[in-house]
């Protein structure tokens, strides 16, 4: 592992959405010079961060593990959990409050964006919390496991 970053994310802190994603992108610029890869990674982290702000009741965290050939992101929280995982993965389905929509979020495409752009995707949820783990692989040197 090259680097490890950790960011707490606060519930309903809408003005902060995207700040962690932007910080990660800037910090990893030297590790991954390919701009296309950094954009893909940045989009995925942005969406995960927005979900934590919009949908959690006690906030959560983003753990970023940087490897030579990929970045693994673990977004976790302590609830309230996703009631219906299959619906949450349906484009356009959203349980985001109006306050989030007015700011340009909650369009129901976030998790799908991550699923589409990540090379590995795992999502589990219960009332006790949600864990989203995904990896974005550097195209030049794809992960093999």
């Amino acid at each position: 592992m090259i680097n490890k970053l950790f960011f707490p994310v606060i519930t309903s802190d809408y003005p902060s959405i995207g700040s962690k994603a932007l910080e990660v992108k800037k910090k990893l610029k030297d590790f991954f010079p390919k701009s296309d890869y950094l954009r893909r990674l940045g989009v995925c982290i942005f969406e995960a961060e927005a979900n934590l702000v919009i949908h959690t009741n006690q906030g959560g965290s983003l753990e970023i593990l940087v490897f030579k050939d990929r970045v693994r992101i673990i977004a976790s929280d302590k609830g309230p959990g996703i009631k219906d995982l299959s619906k949450a993965l349906t484009p356009g389905y959203s349980t985001a409050p109006e306050s989030a929509r007015q700011l340009g979020f909650g369009g129901g495409v976030g998790i799908n964006n991550i699923k589409r752009f990540a090379d590995y995707f795992f999502l589990t949820s219960s009332k006790q919390g949600t864990t989203l783990l995904f990896e974005v692989w550097n195209d030049d040197d794809k992960a093999t496991n």
């Binding site: 003005p15 296309d36 954009r39 942005f46 700011l103 979020f105 752009f117």
Partner: protein, 121 residues
């Protein structure tokens, strides 16, 4: 189109002019949902204009993550100073027009601007 031509086409005011002012921009993307904007990707050799009614800081973060150098905010909304400050820090050129999104897109389309065709693979 040059940044100046875009400004002239939509009667825009420059809120923040620090950035890549020498660009020739031929493609644009218009959306008020930032997640929709995140669905597209700008290519290094083809800079993109983002047209939006969103005024909060997330629009600048979205542009920065997607390497979008120029943002046009429509409908004459009041722009929070923190949005302008973040645009300065990240060198995102920020324009504002009182025109609605439809008219802004139409005027730019008339001048030869095309819709952004790229998406993340």
């Amino acid at each position: 189109m040059t940044v100046d031509e875009i400004i002239e086409a939509v009667g825009a005011e420059v809120l923040q002019g620090k950035g890549r002012t020498d660009l020739d921009i031929n493609y644009a993307f218009a959306a008020d949902l930032m997640s929709d904007t995140l669905f597209i990707v700008a290519r290094d050799d083809e800079p993109i204009l983002l047209i939006t009614g969103v005024t909060n800081t997330s629009v600048v973060r979205t542009a920065t993550i997607l390497d979008i150098p120029l943002v046009l905010i429509v409908r004459g909304k009041k722009i929070p100073p923190e949005t302008i400050q973040l645009a300065i820090e990240n060198e995102i050129i920020l324009l504002q027009t009182p025109k609605i999104m439809f008219d802004s897109c139409g005027l730019l389309f008339e001048k030869g601007m095309k819709g952004c065709p790229w998406r993340l693979k």
